[in-house]
């Protein structure tokens, strides 16, 4: 069970070095399904930031960009879902979608 609606879950601690994107201090670890990918995490952070204009984000775990589901990332890197994952987020350098030409 590892889909978005599956039951496997992991505790994540969201962090950023970008002063403009800091989360409110009281936000501690959050439990998420391991089926989540970058897009859902990006929505989560934007939701927590209460951003009127969503910022596209990318995520780093142990210095590596998350390009799969969290579940696949954990499996590939031999990380247990029992440990709290520190997830760093940065502004996406490459826009997720091609900007329409004008």
């Amino acid at each position: 069970m590892s889909g978005v609606n599956g039951s496997a879950q992991v505790k994540i601690q969201l962090q950023t070095k970008n002063p403009e994107l800091q989360l409110p201090q009281e936000i501690g670890p959050i439990l998420v399904r391991t089926g989540l990918k970058r897009l859902e995490l990006s929505r989560l952070v934007n939701n927590l930031l209460e951003a009127t204009q969503p910022v596209p984000l990318q995520f780093l775990i142990n210095g590596q960009f998350l390009r799969t589901t969290i579940d696949d990332f954990l499996t590939q890197n031999g990380i247990s879902a029992e440990t709290t994952l520190t997830v760093e987020y940065v502004k996406a350098l490459i826009p997720p979608q091609t900007i329409a030409s004008y």
Binding site: N5, Q13, I30, L31, R33, L44, N47, S80
Partner: protein
Amino acid sequence: HTHISSEASAATMSLDEARSAWAEHESSTRNLALILTEHLRLILHPTQATKMRGDFRTGKRLNIKRIIPYIASSYKRDKIWMRRSIPSKRSYQIMLAIDDSKSMDESDSKSLAFETLALVAKSMSMLEVGEICVLGFGEEVKLAHDFSTPFTSEAGAEVFQSFTFAQSKTNVRKMLAESIELFRAARLKATGSSSELWQLQLIISDGVCEDHPSIRQLVRQAFEERIMVVFVIVDALSRKASTPTQSAAVPNQSILDLQTAEFAKDADGEMQLKMVKYLDTFPFQYYLIVRDVQELPGVLAGALRQWFAEVVESGGD
């Protein structure tokens, strides 16, 4: 029901280490064990529940409700006396299920779990009211001490030795299903009337578990089989974060602050994000949050008192 975890051999204590760990926890919780024992004595011993009841030809106190029928029947219906009923002797089977998963190690809940185990086991053995069983659970369920073996200090050391806090999953659903089976088997083996056998499970864990709906179903099943399940959440992280040496920048680590991010499709098929407080969906009816072992005797006694009152009220006595 005995399973050996694949990681069990990773970090086990030697028997000597386990003995000294047990001795240390046993002595650090000695005074608390006395307090808990006194609480439990009042709750578990049925002597307080004795009432004057019944219809007898002789007795200690007149049953007023029987006087008019007695006279009306020309003194024939003469069972007008009440006697003090003798309380039946109850027996207890108490299972301690301790979370052996890796998150316990990370959250530094291990030592609080061991203190709780030493405290509860010690109190129960001082009370001499019943049998104790200890389970470890994570990905698999390990039987660390069975109901039929007396719980001595040596048994305590052996139980400590069987924990690694390295299991890579926390399968509470599986643990509950296997516990119910163990309780059923133990009930069959118990001597005397099974209605006077009270079964109690204390789960000691950091509280983070998956699949709340199916856990809730098993908790209900346990309740139907008259097994009381009390979940003791050891919230060691909040204890750690509140030490003055750490700056205010440390985010809240307590289970009370833990949130779950849930994505669900709305009516239009759009994925919607909802933030839910973790404890709002927690599937256990009786749970206690313990940050310090000092709090345990009081809160545990409170939960047990409430449960016994409910069972007695529902006619289970």
